[in-house]
Amino acid sequence: MLYIDNISVRFQSFALEGISLEIQQGDYLALLGVSGAGKTILLEILAGLQKPDSGRILLEGRDITNEKIQKRGIGLVYQDLSLFPHLRVIDNIAYPLRRKGIHIREIRETASGLASRMGVGHLLTRFPETLSGGEAQRVALARTLASEPEILLLDEPLSKLDVKLKSELRALLAQIHKSGKTIIHVTHDFMEAATLANRVAVIENGRLVQHGTPDEVLRHPQNEFVARFSGIKNIFPCSVSRSADDPGLCIAKVSEGPSIFFLGERENLKGYVMVPQEDIIVSEHSVETSAVNRLNGVIKEAYLSGYGMEIVVDAGVEFVVSVSKSSREKLRLEPGKKVWLGFKASAVRFIDN
């Protein structure tokens, strides 16, 4: 288990403050945050490349806060990969094995084996400058795995790859994780985190703002930043009051927009109301259903998104709604068309300030 205990470090214009996290053996933790949030600095502190001003790092109960970089047992794959330009692929991968006093033939066999496992077995004699982004990424992974780290740190491993390579590398990372390796993966892409990690931790301005399973964070974001970051698009500032008709309902009055009902017993609060785009039903007419929220509006935009479509409806504020292509064709959901939006109070979430 890796225990990060209240780590802080201060630079001239940035500070990482009071980061505490527990990562269990075999966990795949995604460290999420926008650029400059402090994710990479935290990785560098874990790897020993930066010294924290205060706090401790315990690996399997051993305090490694001030341990030498080469003795930590934590392997880091840099965002720019940092492959050694003067060494061939085989020698890059074999580099960590050289120190162990192993026979040269065994070193080469181990390196070749790792290269094959990472899908770069055919590139052994190439120099890094001749590799594509995906190939270089695989070589960097093989090289770090050759050092047999207890924890594998990945700094934005998919950020520079195209869609096809991303998918291939995602599968490879999942395979490495499946083999039992504990991984900490820095990314700014929530979907990337959600597809790979079993735990996510969100960092904002040098502070850990939320951690949990991807599902927990997605369903119960603790603040507006996390909500927006996790991809929730319909999030509006509001003030809350109790419904006079139904004591179990609250009314979120969206600033310069509609009122939205949600389940709860809150009042006199300010905060943000969120409506998951997948939970909104679009219809041509106002239809009587169990959904207490019914709003009419005009379609402003419609565009492809993944396998379906997204439409933007102005109903006092702009709602993004996911629909299938067939629904769009059936209802002729084109810009300018008037539509009704319906969603249940139970689908709406509220975050107070």
């Binding site: 490349l49 970089i69 080469q70 003795k71 934590i74 330009p85 580099y95 120190r99 770090t144 050759a146």
Partner: protein, 261 residues
């Protein structure tokens, strides 16, 4: 900017002037020496002995002092410490002081009455009027070329690569020998070449420490002072030709495109 023909013309004219300034005296020296004199000079045993001594002394200076200069260059490239600017200035001192003054300064620490001089005598090494003194004088005036080139070479190696190597379990020694040194080797080789070339051409400091055994710059001076220009010129031309040959070969070797650069 150079696409403008007037500007291009001015730049080309000035560049040509500078190249001519360097080439003309050397070309004049070679052309004014009759061919017959070249073969005569090449078979001049005294000159050949002197050229061999000059090459070897400069090489010895590079090998002995260069080994210590490379770690110093690394420290100057990588570490921040109080007084670093002063140390960088000290490294450049031999370039800015008159070389005869450098010879006097070296004499002050290696002459027979000094600790180093006495220690040398005890070990059978004579600095004043000896090969060891020539090596020291050549290394003194030429070492800034190596330190500066190697420092720039190490500075050009991304520190991240060294950290990546440490992260992969390498010791600092291993990182230095397998990452930093190979990646800076082109600039280091250039520095070594420049140091050697500068050592070969040293006259002022060497002549004060050791007039004999005679290195070629001293021999050329002696022939000029004793017998005149026409007697000194063939020796100078042959020595310059040897230096140029070595210099061009080394530049070609050091300048070969490498993976690290």
């Amino acid at each position: 900017m150079l696409r403008n023909w007037k500007t291009g013309l001015v730049f080309m004219f000035l560049s040509g002037l500078i190249l001519l300034f360097v080439i003309a005296p050397l070309a004049g020296m070679f052309l004014q020496t009759p061919l017959a004199q070249y073969s005569e000079t090449v078979s001049d045993q005294e000159l050949m002995r002197s050229i061999r001594l000059t090459l070897l002394c400069s090489l010895a200076g590079v090998l002995t002092f260069g080994i210590a200069a490379i770690p110093l260059s690394y420290v100057l490239a990588r570490k921040e410490f109080p007084g670093k600017g002063i140390i960088n200035g000290i490294v450049d001192l031999p370039v800015v002081i008159p070389h005869s003054a450098a010879g006097i300064a070296i004499l002050g620490i290696v002459s027979r009455g000094t600790i180093i001089g006495r220690a040398g005598e005890a070990a059978g090494i004579s600095f004043v009027g000896g090969v060891a003194g020539i090596v020291v004088a050549m290394a003194f005036v030429s070492i800034p070329f190596l330190v500066n080139a190697a420092r720039d070479g190490f500075a050009s190696v991304p520190e991240k690569l060294e950290k990546a190597a440490l992260n992969l379990g390498a010791s600092p020694w291993m990182v230095f020998f397998t990452i930093s040194l190979p990646l800076a080797r082109r600039q280091i080789l250039t520095g070594l070449t420049m140091m050697w070339a500068r050592g070969l051409s040293e006259f002022g400091a060497v002549v004060i420490i050791a007039y004999h055994p005679m290195v070629t710059p001293v021999l050329i001076w002696e022939r000029f002072a004793s017998f005149g220009l026409s007697y000194a010129r063939p020796a100078a031309a042959v020595f310059v030709a040897v230096c140029l040959l070595i210099f061009i070969t080394m530049r070609l070797l050091a300048g070969r495109p490498s993976r690290s650069n």
